[in-house]
């Protein structure tokens, strides 16, 4: 079980690192935001989602897509503008979706996915699906009106939305603590009457428990929940971010507590053979190399189709 978790997290890490390489080598162009260090929140939360549940992520959403079951080859292809991309190259790194996998999209507008998730839960009130709608956003998004509106709307109407705030301490490039007077972001939710918890997002068990309870509440018609998961991004906000804002020593401390390092230590302490632990990383990297190579061979999206799909 724990080895499976490690493999799941390595899949995300390996995907992100391969994306970084492809961005630096040229096949991927444009702005790319990686989620290295935050893998446990995506893996833990998605492990509790059911097929009928809806997930809304942010532009830092590649890992959430993988955790939800979107094939890596289609993600690589999307980022490289290939016809085989999940959206045929129309979404790109920051705005792709794969509803057939319950992944209802990244969003490049901070906080904008939250009201849309409210709508997915609203639909669930009428279609009998008992759908939970999970919206993931960062600490910076807590300062967006859209998130405040979405939380109150869901609370007032009793809609099954799971608000997951990945608090990686940085509101893009600025420390969140400099942008709020109340550092406990979960209090925004509790002030609106939403049950809210703060958890160590590096601890998969905590993520699972909090998410399970929230999804159960949503499915049972008990309304929204809020989870503030403390995590850390161990790379820049975007590829090319010089990270001059980071205090000395912070990254070194984060590299100790980040979830892959943490789970690796736990497994070895449990007596799991080093070979088994290392195989997770190797296997994940092989899978991503294979997926990326396949995507690279796929044809580019055809410019003749650029005008399609604007209207019904």
């Amino acid at each position: 079980m724990k080895l499976d978790d490690l493999l799941s997290m390595w899949r995300i890490r390996a995907l992100e690192e391969k994306i970084r390489d492809l961005r630096l080598e040229g096949p991927i162009v444009g702005s790319v935001h990686l989620a290295n260090g935050q893998e446990s929140v995506a893996v833990g939360a998605c492990s509790q989602l059911r097929p009928q549940d809806a997930l809304y992520a942010t532009y830092r959403g590649h890992g959430w897509a993988v955790a939800r079951g979107v094939p890596p080859r289609e993600i690589f292809a999307e980022l490289m503008g290939r016809v085989t991309g999940v959206n045929g190259g129309r979404g790109g790194s920051a705005h792709f979706s794969a509803p057939q996998h319950g992944f209802h999209g990244e969003n490049s507008i901070v906080g904008a996915g939250a009201p849309i998730a409210v709508g997915a839960a609203l639909a669930g009130k009428y279609d009998g699906s008992r759908r939970a709608a999970m919206t993931v956003f960062g600490d910076g998004a807590i300062n967006q009106g859209a998130v405040a509106e979405a939380m109150n709307f869901a609370a007032a109407l009793g809609l099954g939305v799971v608000f997951v705030c990945e608090n990686n301490r940085y509101s893009e490039l600025t420390p969140i603590d400099d942008m709020v007077a109340e550092p406990d972001l979960s209090r925004r939710a509790s002030a609106l009457g939403i049950p809210a918890v703060r958890i160590d997002g590096n601890d998969l068990a905590q993520v699972r428990t909090a998410t399970r309870l929230a999804v159960e509440a949503a499915a049972a018609g008990r309304g929204p929940s809020f989870i503030e998961a403390h995590t850390q991004r161990i790379v820049g906000h975007y590829i090319g971010d010089s990270e001059q804002y980071r205090p000395a020593g912070e990254l070194e401390r984060d590299l100790v507590v980040e979830p892959i390092a943490r789970l690796t230590r736990e497994l070895l302490a449990d007596g799991v053979p080093t070979e088994s632990v290392e195989r997770c990383e190797r296997r994940a990297r092989e899978e991503m190399e294979t997926a990326a190579a396949a995507a690279l061979r796929d044809p580019l999206a055809d410019p003749a189709t650029a005008k399609e799909h604007l209207y019904a």
Partner: protein
């Protein structure tokens, strides 16, 4: 079965909503004060009582309302959201422009947003600057959003139903000064029409006027005055602005050789500029330079006499048409 009933615009909108809720079980109707109070203009009165929890009131949260529409629409619902004043949509433009307009395109059609935004706009006596704007051009600049501006009771009924049945995100812009207007015979219960189309309100050969919205009434008054003097004007009311019937405008302009566009919205960047540009690009020969009338580029004052000094009046339309006809007389 189609039947004829006497309805004003407010009643026609109510009838269209009732029919949509009745015939399309996937529809939802919500907004600020629309359910229990029946709407600030009374347009949605009685609908919650009749259709239960598919009609509901929301917090004053336009972003949440429209985001919820995008999300619910992608899961098989067909939301109809009332934005009480178009001026209020500005706080939620992200959900219209960045979200609703994008989902179909960027997902290659895997996700769609068949939602309808009902709103109303325009100046009324004493209305403040934040309750008087005509903002259709902002929406028309956004590919992916359909826009209609019905005016008569019949069009208000037909256009709203077409919008609701459409699988595109559609904004239907009404005008509150018309809701309580006189009742007219309206055919209800007929086939739901496809989106698009214009109404030719007058037929003439001396000039073409293209207009939309409540100001059309002033255009028709001016045109009727001129008709007594033997000047005949083609009047095309663009009930739908996206899709816009460019061909009918080109045909009329080619025939009359004179073109005037009238809208209540501000001149600069108004959709009238787009209409003139399309005619210019088409190469249709005109006998004289085309004209457009709109709000003088200004904020809108509350005092009625100040607002009237900035907005096109019947006399302004008449004068413009006289000049246009005289200009191309040679």
């Amino acid at each position: 079965m189609p039947e004829i009933v006497k309805l004003n615009v407010g009643g026609a909108v109510n009838a269209a909503l009732a029919r949509a809720l009745d015939e399309m079980p996937e529809t939802l109707l919500y907004g600020e004060d629309v359910a229990l109070p029946g709407g600030v203009f009374g347009v949605t009165r009685g609908l919650q009582k009749r259709f239960g929890d598919r009609v509901f009131d929301t917090p004053i949260s336009e972003t949440a309302m429209l985001g919820a529409a995008v999300g619910a629409a992608s899961f098989g619902r067909r939301p109809i959201v009332e934005i009480m004043w178009i001026d209020f949509s500005l706080v939620a433009f992200d959900q219209i422009v960045n979200q609703a307009a994008n989902v179909r395109y960027v997902s290659e059609g895997r996700t769609t947003a068949p939602l309808t935004i009902r709103t109303q706009q325009g100046n009324a006596p004493g209305a403040c600057a934040q309750h008087s704007q005509n903002l259709e051009a902002l929406l028309l600049h956004v590919p992916g959003i359909r826009v209609a501006m019905p005016r008569t009771p019949q069009d208000s009924y037909d256009v709203l139903l077409a919008a609701i049945a459409s699988d595109d995100p559609t904004v239907v812009i009404e005008n509150r000064t018309l809701y309580a207007g006189s009742k007219e015979a309206v055919e209800i219960g007929g086939p739901v029409q496809p989106i698009g189309g214009h109404r030719r309100r007058r037929t003439g050969s001396d000039a073409t006027v293209v207009c939309w919205g409540a100001i059309t009434a002033k255009v028709l008054d001016a045109v009727d005055r001129l008709e007594g003097e033997g000047v005949s004007v083609d009047v095309i009311e663009a009930v739908w602005l996206n899709p816009f019937d460019t061909e009918v405008v080109l045909e009329s302009a080619a025939r009359t050789g004179r073109l005037l566009v009238v809208h209540e919205a501000a001149r600069t960047g108004g959709f009238g500029a787009e209409v003139l540009a399309r005619v210019a690009e088409s190469g249709v020969p005109l006998r004289t330079a085309p004209r457009r009338l709109g709000l003088a580029d200004s904020r809108i004052p509350s005092a009625p006499q100040l607002a009237a000094a900035l907005l096109p009046q019947t006399n302004d339309v008449e004068t413009a048409l006289r000049e246009l006809v005289a200009g191309g007389a040679a």
